[in-house]
Symmetry: C2
Subunit: 279 residues, 2 copies
């Protein structure tokens, strides 16, 4: 199979590495506007050739769209305009309703499979890519009924060859779920980093005493603006009310503390501890 990766970031590059390893794909073509990414992806043998988007569309059996989500909404219609009859396209973005809305009436809609592998790191680019990123992770396929069977089969097998467990969901449920477990975590980490860096700037050397707990909580604050600003914008409808719910919880904790309500603070923490049963 000839596979094109559009966007040679951490996700696109890591997919290519393991699809080559598993034998799922034979020839890998890469499309990326960033010249450093182009060079790295060739040097690391992630793709065999850097090509134009037009070339990739013309010759690929499977096109994997792995650009930031604001770019994907621009590129996907162009891919569907020109895609060959027996080829398929899938994306890996963290927001789904918006992208599907853009192409919902496209003649070739059924050749597209909306998907989201639930894995990543805070790093970016081909250099950050690695084998095994998707192993034993969830891959979500959205609105499967709107893709044709062969396209679905191909994408499902692709994720199986990466070692992922495929689950199915509506785009609507997906966007709300990842709003809670992924997008909110990023908002939380960004706000924590901004608050602590502002304090640090005031001349207090507080990061000197930072330990593993802080490092863990703030890790996602290293994630790039290029990728995350459009995710927040596309999932605004879900994220705004989720931030409100989160801030209510913070306010509840704060009030219990202000009122010296030991029992309520204890209850709050014990409720939070239940996450142990799940994670």
């Amino acid at each position: 199979m000839k596979i094109s990766i559009i966007g040679l970031g951490l996700i696109g590059s890591s997919i290519a590495i393991d699809l080559r390893k598993s034998g799922f794909g034979k020839i890998f073509l890469g499309v990326d506007a960033n010249e450093i990414h182009q060079i790295e992806a060739i040097e690391l043998n992630i793709v065999d050739q850097i090509v134009t988007l037009e070339h990739a569309i013309a010759v690929s059996d499977l096109i994997i769209l792995a650009t930031p989500v604001n770019i994907s909404t621009q590129i996907l219609p162009k891919i569907l305009d020109k895609i060959s009859e027996n080829s398929f396209v899938t994306d890996v973005g963290s927001t789904k309703e918006n992208l599907i809305e853009v192409i919902k009436n496209h003649t070739n809609r059924k050749q597209f499979v909306a998907a989201h592998p639930m894995s990543g790191t805070e790093k970016s680019g081909p250099n950050a890519a690695f084998s095994g990123l998707f192993e034993n992770k969830i891959a979500i396929i959205c609105d499967a009924e709107n893709s044709n069977k062969k396209a679905l089969d191909t994408v499902e097998k692709m994720y199986q060859s990466l070692g992922s467990n495929v689950i199915f969901m509506t785009a609507k449920a997906h966007d709300e779920h990842v709003g809670y477990v992924s997008h909110l975590s990023h908002v939380i980490a960004y706000a924590l980093a901004v608050a602590v860096l502002e304090k640090e700037k005031s001349g207090e050397d507080i990061l000197k005493v930072a330990a593993g707990g802080f490092t863990s909580t703030v890790r996602l604050a290293k994630s790039s603006a290029e990728m995350w600003t459009p995710i927040f914008e596309q999932n605004k409808k879900n994220i705004l009310p989720i931030i409100d719910i989160y801030m209510e919880k913070l306010a509840e904790f704060r009030q219990n503390l202000e009122e010296n309500n030991t029992e309520k603070i204890n209850e709050f923490i014990k409720e939070a501890n239940k996450i142990k049963k799940i994670l």
Copy 2:
């Protein structure tokens, strides 16, 4: 040296393991109200003997107080009441001003060294203890001028033998600094867990799609109420305004998103990204 560990939790037990390994201590005595902890600590060879607090005070060269901070404020005065002239006591608690206030006028104040090793995990008890927990980590000694030289030397050497880097700070600065980099991270994680678990309870299976980012951000929510409720209460003075500052940052992000202010969202994330230079 004969060393007593008061409180055989993760921290007390991990200190004992490495002080034995390094040869800093020869005989280790343990005091803990929890019978399961007593049995585990003996079975794991963390301490040689379980004794009463009175016995520990009577025979030890060094007493390490590693109980939850509300227990430490009750026990430390009793230790200082009966401590031998050439023995010392140190604590490991996450709050310092409160504990020091309790014993500031005690005749034997100078035999106490207020300290805080900046390391831990979300787990508890002797079973969770391990060698190397304090290696290359910061240990903070507070208000050093109020301890006698021999006590200070002993505690400093103890942390050096654990592989830690000792730094000095006032109790006041300590409590504010850890409020930012440790206590706030815990509040954030507890509130995130409570918010997500509440949503999960409403019948939506959202934790099924949780990936590494969520796991990292929420990790500290597994930390015990027994340990953390008294920390929050003792550091309330610092934590309340820090929560307010954090919530202002969240509100700022939220407003930028609501107003579709792409430029401001980008700036916010790029500001947060600066944490990369430090961590």
